[in-house]
């Protein structure tokens, strides 16, 4: 079974600075997807960024980028120019390349990010 580990329960960053959230996973599959979700106090789960395992190029979405190391099974999230609105729980998630309803998300335990003004 796949597992996802986020080793940092809490992180803090100064506004406008850069922070990196760590995520490692365990799988025997060669093709899969990885996601970072953000959960602000409103409780809504918001997709931040996604990565397809067979693509070597790291995904980037505006101020958010990932460092995907497939051999090391590592998928870290870098937030540049942090803003107060980035404060939230961040979840790393793994999804198999199944279809037809078998493709569940496996989540890490989350990292609570605080942004200090």
């Amino acid at each position: 079974a796949q597992t996802v580990t986020q080793s940092q329960p809490e992180m803090s960053v100064q506004e406008a600075e850069t922070v990196t959230l760590s995520c490692t996973y365990d799988t025997s599959e060669s093709d899969y997807y990885l996601f970072w979700y953000k959960q602000p106090p409103s409780r809504q789960m918001i997709l931040v960024i996604r990565q397809e395992a067979y693509k070597q190029q790291n995904a980037t979405e505006n101020r958010f980028s990932v460092n995907f190391q497939k051999a090391a099974k590592s998928f870290s999230l870098k937030i540049s120019d942090s803003q107060l609105g980035d404060a939230a729980m961040y979840f790393c998630a793994y999804r198999s390349r199944g279809r037809g309803g078998s493709e569940k998300l496996v989540f890490g335990k989350g990292t609570k990010l605080t942004v200090n003004p």
Partner: protein, 113 residues
């Protein structure tokens, strides 16, 4: 328009009661899910449905019974509620195609007293 909507957003009920949570998606997705987020924020899959057919049932007590009347709706009925059922329950649907990106509802906070 809300893509995945759940009702109610909050639910407070006594032990032993039966309650239902409803979910609807207007994205045209074939697959819907129920996830449970416990008090430590850990999210775990409970069920998945594809075109009204149950696909995943992740060791959930029989007191939890999902029902999908059509592919746009997935409801969760819980019998004989227990204190340990208190959690946030998320409905989600996933897009067809390669990514299968999941879109989440706003969650239902269930408190059993």
């Amino acid at each position: 328009d809300t893509a995945v909507s759940q009702t109610p957003k909050y639910l407070v009920t006594q032990m032993g009661n039966d309650k239902s949570i409803k979910c609807e998606q207007n994205l045209g997705h074939d697959t819907m899910y129920w996830y449970k987020q416990d008090s430590k924020k850990f999210l775990k899959i409970m069920f998945s449905y594809n075109n009204k057919e149950l696909i995943i049932n992740e060791t959930v007590p029989n007191r939890f019974s999902p029902k999908s009347p059509d592919k746009a709706h997935l409801n969760l009925h819980i019998n004989s509620l227990e204190l340990g059922d208190s959690a946030v329950y998320f409905c989600a649907s996933s897009a067809p195609g390669t990514w299968g990106e999941a879109f989440f509802g706003q969650g239902t906070r269930l408190t059993v007293v």
